[in-house]
């Protein structure tokens, strides 16, 4: 049956701005960036997880009608576009500090949760990003 998730799609409202955020700030690398007809096929992946790419997709014609593109843009900027990326990190505080240094808008400090230490932020379009240092499960 199925093996792994290879590509996850995320609606972004500007692909250059998305590259600046996901590559320039979060540390993704570009995997594919090519024109595919009217579409710019743009995927990025973490260097430590190259098998899982994120397709940074623009909601735009002819994929969807201008009206639907507008509806998607409205929902994404209301935080209801369905885009959520959850990351793990070895050190939430260190990662928080590094992202801050890179100029990422970080509205919250790392918080201790039952499952680890994590913090959340938004990408420039309203998609949700959470970064967690997971507490290792107690060894059996």
């Amino acid at each position: 049956m199925l093996n792994t998730i290879s590509i996850t799609s995320l609606y972004v409202l500007d692909q250059d701005q998305a590259l600046d955020f996901y590559v320039g700030k979060l540390g993704f690398e570009v995997q594919t960036d090519q024109q595919f007809g009217p579409m710019r096929f743009l995927t990025v992946a973490l260097p430590s997880d190259p098998g899982h790419a994120v397709l940074l997709e623009l909601p735009a014609p002819p994929s969807v009608s201008p009206e639907i593109a507008g509806q998607v843009r409205d929902l994404v900027t209301k935080g209801a576009g369905g885009g959520h990326l959850f990351f793990t990190t070895d050190d939430a505080h260190k990662t928080h500090a590094e992202l801050k240094e890179r100029g990422v808008d970080l509205p919250e400090e790392p918080v201790v949760q039952p499952y680890g230490i994590d913090f959340g932020l938004r990408d420039p379009f309203g998609n949700s990003v959470r970064i967690a240092q997971m507490t290792p499960p107690p060894s059996a």
Binding site: G79, Q113, F125
Partner: protein, 144 residues
């Protein structure tokens, strides 16, 4: 959708995120409006147009959701939980909780522990907004 309305959405989302994060603080509408870079009257109107309820009501539901979770996942007293989630008086807490949930905090607590889901998920899905919301008095919704 215009760029202006997208920018407005993002500003309202920023204020809503601040409520999700800072519900325990004495948040007020002027502070949230400043965060969204708009005037107070504009903020209340625009927030409601964007998310379908006033900022005041959103925050009340957020606080009640947090209280519901704490009541069923901790041993803290109802009074402590009331303060933990940002209510200044036990009377207001009990009234608002009962109005939104349909039963008082102490009765709700007897429902027992909640399933363990990540809190960010719980906060999105457990914020009460069911039929009881319809029973809110007209004056409540209009007040920021």
């Amino acid at each position: 959708m215009s760029r202006a309305s997208e920018d407005s959405n993002l500003r309202m989302l920023r204020a809503r995120d601040a409520m999700d994060r800072g519900y325990a603080e004495p948040l007020d509408v002027p502070a949230l409006a400043r965060l969204a870079h708009v005037s107070e009257a504009h903020f209340i109107r625009t927030f409601k147009a964007t998310f379908g309820e006033t900022p005041h009501r959103y925050l009340q539901r957020r606080r009640v959701e947090r209280a519901m979770t704490l009541l069923r996942s901790s041993d803290r007293s109802v009074t402590d939980i009331c303060m933990d989630v940002g209510f200044a008086s036990l009377g207001t807490f009990s009234r608002v909780f009962t109005e939104i949930v349909g039963e008082p905090p102490s009765v709700y607590r007897r429902r027992g522990p909640l399933a363990p889901v990540p809190s960010c998920f719980g906060m999105r899905w457990l914020r009460p907004s069911g039929e009881t919301a319809l029973s809110e008095k007209p004056g409540d919704a209009a007040r920021p």
